[in-house]
Symmetry: D3
Subunit: 69 residues, 6 copies
């Protein structure tokens, strides 16, 4: 089972809130994780990203896809 995505994080469901059309699900990350981001090289240079920097990784919940294997 392989995904064409850099991020596939194991997580445990903590809560499910069902709405009329959309639902919000919350998770706990249960194992150490690595992540990857793609951004324009211009943005990368504006941020001056380099090894060892600490950043916040902001992700809208709509972009997180839960999969049951």
């Amino acid at each position: 089972m392989k995904y064409g995505a850099r991020n596939a994080i194991t997580a445990k469901v903590k809560s499910v809130k069902k709405g009329d059309v959309m639902s919000l699900v919350k998770y706990e990350i249960t194992t150490p994780a690595e992540m990857a981001s793609v951004l324009t090289t211009e943005s990368c240079e504006d941020l001056g990203l380099k090894e060892g920097d600490t950043v916040k990784l902001v992700i809208k919940a709509i972009h997180v896809l839960p999969v049951k294997e």
Copy 2:
């Protein structure tokens, strides 16, 4: 400093690969994290998501936004 996004994870940069237009950056998650996803209620029910379930959270790298505070 507040974001209109459910996910804002502290991470440390491990590597930066710069391309002509796009760059790929990798991170280590340095603190325990929680995440949230929004999906259609239909998908939620098809998956049968409930508290305690283990899932993979798949996120394309392009949807991860690094921010320096």
Copy 3:
């Protein structure tokens, strides 16, 4: 009329479910279609994608933009 997107598929509306803020619309693909995806070269190599392979193309409904010409 031209879009800056690789995928523009002709489809017929089958159902519309209106919610308070978001709505879910379903379609039938009425003509043979081609699609394209962009992913990191790393993910592409991890998947080992090559001509003739069969894959599932997974797309969250939120990323599908209906247009009436």
Copy 4:
């Protein structure tokens, strides 16, 4: 194997073009397919979407996730 996404279309790889950081892959849809979109109820009403309407479904290639099962 279940995805928290409304769209999971079987497709065959036609071509792969690898770039320095990102790659572009093209597919043929090999089976009849249904699709779903989520949009704001406001946009849905502005479009006047109803059963039987013909639309174009526009999807940026970056939002298409290939998966090998």
Copy 5:
């Protein structure tokens, strides 16, 4: 010509930078514009968004779709 999206802003191309697979295009907004965002109600309440507030609207370039009518 109608889009199932809340934002359709008239803009003038200022520069085009073509890469091997992806290109970066810059624009000037030539007419006063309104925009809309959808976020979880939780994020909306955490931000405490109300009429008259000033915010930054952050959008990754990959999510901007140019269309020629």
Copy 6:
């Protein structure tokens, strides 16, 4: 405060509509703005984008992230 995104537009909140899970917020752009898009070089060439062209920039509301600094 720096974002790994090409677009960060100052805006004023005009209205907030809260739904059960998702909310829709509208804004006025209060200062002249520039924007950027990333698309495949193929789409860029199909559109024939060049300096001075007028286009519509279409953005689904879900991709707009409000931030309070």
